[in-house]
């Protein structure tokens, strides 16, 4: 299959290894991966801030470059929700509506693509550690991704998966929310990190780097031993 990989701006800049692992995994599975350089952002920050015209300035370019792709795989549940759920709303009643609808149907969050589209759960990975999984809210509630990442983790050799209480509770990132209401965002993140630490896990894993950027930021600042990891990083470990 021809897979068009969409690496969002913050993954591209700060977490490039997440994208690299995805490329390796997809190529190992025999797919042809392309990554259009012109595509950088889904437009969600402006959209969530209420600036829909400005969001369309960014989304329009992304839509243009991805509209004919066979399958778009995206390295974030949140950006995935933007393409799958919010583009059709953003372009409702506009000439691009049909293209937005088509893109929505052909877009997959990475773990969902592996499990639901390809039917793959065992990637032959080995990761000897105790981990707990954090459900990113957009992936969980906008895209309905819950069991897929766990199925993938269960097949990883020597990995012990433990559920934290409140795995489905928001970590407090929320995009611009984290900067506009840092005190609430921080409190939410501390609650999340405490739930994860209570499991005794060494790693808190998620399929969304945005949540992990916020959580790792808190953990590092507070000198906590718990580490965060993107799911793709584990699935590509040997």
């Amino acid at each position: 299959m021809n897979v068009t990989l969409f690496i969002p701006c913050f993954v591209d800049s700060c977490f490039p290894q997440v994208g690299m692992h995805m490329v390796r995994i997809l190529e190992r599975l025999g797919h042809r991966v392309t990554c259009p350089e012109a595509v950088a952002c889904c437009g969600q920050p402006a959209f969530n801030s209420g600036y829909w015209d400005e969001a369309r300035m960014v989304a329009g370019k992304t839509l243009h470059h991805l509209r004919d792709a066979e399958a778009v795989v995206i390295a974030s549940g949140s950006c995935g929700a933007m393409l799958k759920v919010f583009y059709p709303q953003l372009y409702a009643g506009r000439p691009e509506e049909a293209a937005a609808q088509r893109l929505s149907e052909h877009t997959w969050e990475f773990s969902d693509f592996l499990v639901s589209k390809l039917g793959v759960t065992d990637l032959g990975a080995r990761f000897p550690a105790k981990v707990t999984f954090h459900d990113g809210c957009h992936g969980l509630r906008e895209l309905g991704i819950k069991s897929g990442p766990r199925k993938l983790l269960e097949k990883v050799r020597d990995l012990e998966l433990v559920e934290m209480s409140d795995a489905e509770t928001c970590c407090g990132f929320g995009g611009t929310f984290a900067a506009k209401f840092p005190m609430i965002s921080t409190a939410m993140g501390e609650v999340k990190c405490a739930s994860a630490a209570d499991t005794g896990a060494e790693y808190m894993v998620s399929n969304d780097s945005s949540c992990l950027m916020h959580l790792q930021g808190l953990l590092s600042r507070q000198g906590k031993p718990l580490k965060t990891l993107h799911l793709a990083q584990i699935l590509d470990s040997q």
């Binding site: 690496i7 701006c9 591209d12 800049s13 700060c14 977490f15 490039p16 997440v18 994208g19 690299m20 990554c35 350089e37 012109a38 950088a40 952002c41 437009g43 920050p45 402006a46 969530n48 801030s49 209420g50 600036y51 829909w52 400005e54 969001a55 300035m57 960014v58 370019k61 809210c137 957009h138 509630r141 906008e142 209480s165 409140d166 489905e168 509770t169 928001c170 407090g172 990132f173 929320g174 995009g175 929310f177 984290a178 900067a179 506009k180 209401f181 840092p182 005190m183 609430i184 921080t186 409190a187 939410m188 993140g189 609650v191 916020h214 790792q216 930021g217 808190l218 590092s220 600042r221």
Partner: protein, 464 residues
């Protein structure tokens, strides 16, 4: 920034650092979740129950004119006086008039968020009436002279020790940590008031159009005493409380109890059909039903967010909201707090003054998932944000988003930005923790990941 927004930011800043508050609320609401899930499993199919309830409320709200007329004509036929009040002040004045006409001195009241919405108690107290809250939680917060913390659990922010201290100070009781004894102290104070009161004021959970009845749900029996003992009864309710048929309660009563408090059915569920009828020996001689609009019809006119009028005030969205769990009920500064409050307050009290509540959300969607009548709460927050910008855009922000779009859409500029970020990183680290740090709102509590030496796109290009 509005005064309300400023106050919200200040209050949130203080309370989110209060670890005692955090622990208290998180623990209480985790227990609620366990109880709620146990009761949810008693439904054959919870999601169908929600769907059915949403459809019933959709019908009720989209035919509100018909159902309200049916409700009032039925209830008036049994001698109830119905008052239509377009605004809060009109509802307040109507109730003041009824109390004056009854030559009342003491008023006893059961729980009614609608009364909080129109600031009824303050108005009545200003007139010289004694108003006593009979719901235990409301009684406690009234003694503390503060508004309810939560629409269903008004005093959930207080510990038994704090309540005991309050009772000792205000009622002269002996200290105790036993919930039963605390309840008995309140009961002794309240029983006297039921007998003294000339007027009882209640809220309502549902108004049944088909039979012309008001349904009140409670756990303490206090609303029954409030309705039954005084000579005059007043029921204040929002016009959205309508349910078409009596049999709808078969779903709505367990749904409300399960979603709101993790109960199978609430302790007391009473239907009121009219004042004392000829030949009856008890019940109020007069019954006044005060129907409140207070900009609900404006929300009804908004096809995108009309479903917010489905709300049955169960509090489920507050209970699961991670924002509510961290900032608590008082921080909102509104009658209705939590997600539903953030959605409807801009409609009830003005978008520009209250838009900050729609921004103070991570849009996680836990509220929408929990709502028993399927209000699309977190998407309404997004719409409120868009509508607020549509009314009065900030030109600085607009320019910033346009600049962002320009940079993101121009690969050379985007790469240049990454390069600059790499170069200034050592300087940024030196500024971290000082007022000169440009990303201080992030770095005050969190480390910021640096831009990687090689971005994904650079790696991709080199690899090919």
């Amino acid at each position: 920034m509005s005064n309300a927004a400023q106050q919200f930011l200040e209050a949130a800043g203080t309370i989110t650092r209060n670890l005692r508050h955090r622990g208290l609320i998180q623990t209480a609401l985790r227990k609620y979740e366990v109880a709620r899930d146990r009761k949810k499993s008693a439904f054959n199919d919870w999601s169908s129950a929600r769907q059915s309830a949403a459809e019933t409320k959709w019908d009720a709200i989209n035919h509100l004119d018909t159902y309200l007329t049916e409700f009032t004509s039925k209830i008036e036929a049994r001698g109830t006086k119905v008052h239509w009040c377009p605004t809060g002040p009109e509802a307040r004045d109507t109730i003041r008039g009824i109390i004056r006409d009854a030559k009342a001195k003491c008023v006893v009241k059961s729980k009614a968020m609608t009364a909080e919405e129109i600031h009824l108690n303050e108005a009545l107290e200003k007139d010289g009436f004694e108003v006593v809250e009979s719901d235990l939680g409301e009684f406690i917060v009234q003694l503390r002279k503060e508004p309810p913390y939560h629409i269903v659990f008004p005093a959930m922010h207080l510990t038994r020790d704090e309540i005991s201290d309050l009772f000792e100070r205000e009622l002269g009781s002996s200290p105790t940590r036993e919930p039963e004894e605390l309840t008995m102290i309140a009961r002794r104070a309240l029983r006297r008031k039921y007998i003294q009161a000339d007027v009882g004021i209640t809220g309502a959970n549902f108004a049944i159009a088909e039979t012309g009845m008001v349904s009140i749900t409670e756990n303490e029996g206090n609303a029954r005493l409030t309705a039954a003992l005084p000579r005059v009864m007043i029921t204040l309710l929002g016009i959205e409380k309508i349910l078409p048929k009596l049999e709808d309660l078969a779903l709505f009563l367990p749904l409300l109890a399960t979603a709101g408090a993790g109960q199978t059915v609430t302790g007391y569920n009473t239907l009121y059909g009219g004042p004392r009828q000829p030949g009856e020996s008890d019940g109020p001689v007069e019954w006044h039903v005060v129907l409140l609009d207070n900009r609900r019809t404006e929300l009804l006119a908004d096809p995108e967010q009309r479903d917010a009028l489905h709300c049955i005030r169960c509090g489920a969205c507050l209970n699961v909201c991670p924002i509510f769990r961290n900032v608590g009920g008082h921080t909102y500064g509104t009658t209705y707090s939590g997600p539903v409050g953030s959605v409807i307050t801009p409609h009830l009290r003005g978008l520009q003054d209250w838009k900050h509540l729609s921004n103070a959300s991570s849009l996680c969607g836990a509220c929408t998932e929990a709502c028993p009548v399927k209000i699309d709460l977190h998407h309404h927050l997004l719409q409120n944000r868009r509508n607020a910008i549509g009314e009065t855009p900030s030109w600085i922000e607009r320019l910033a988003w346009r600049a962002h779009a320009f940079v993101i859409n121009t690969p050379a500029l985007y790469q240049f930005g990454q390069e600059v970020a790499r170069i200034v990183e050592p300087l940024r680290l030196r500024l971290q923790g000082t007022p000169l740090d440009p990303v201080r709102s992030w770095t005050r509590t969190r480390d910021l990941p640096p831009v990687a030496p090689e971005s994904f796109k650079e790696w991709w290009r080199n690899r090919r």
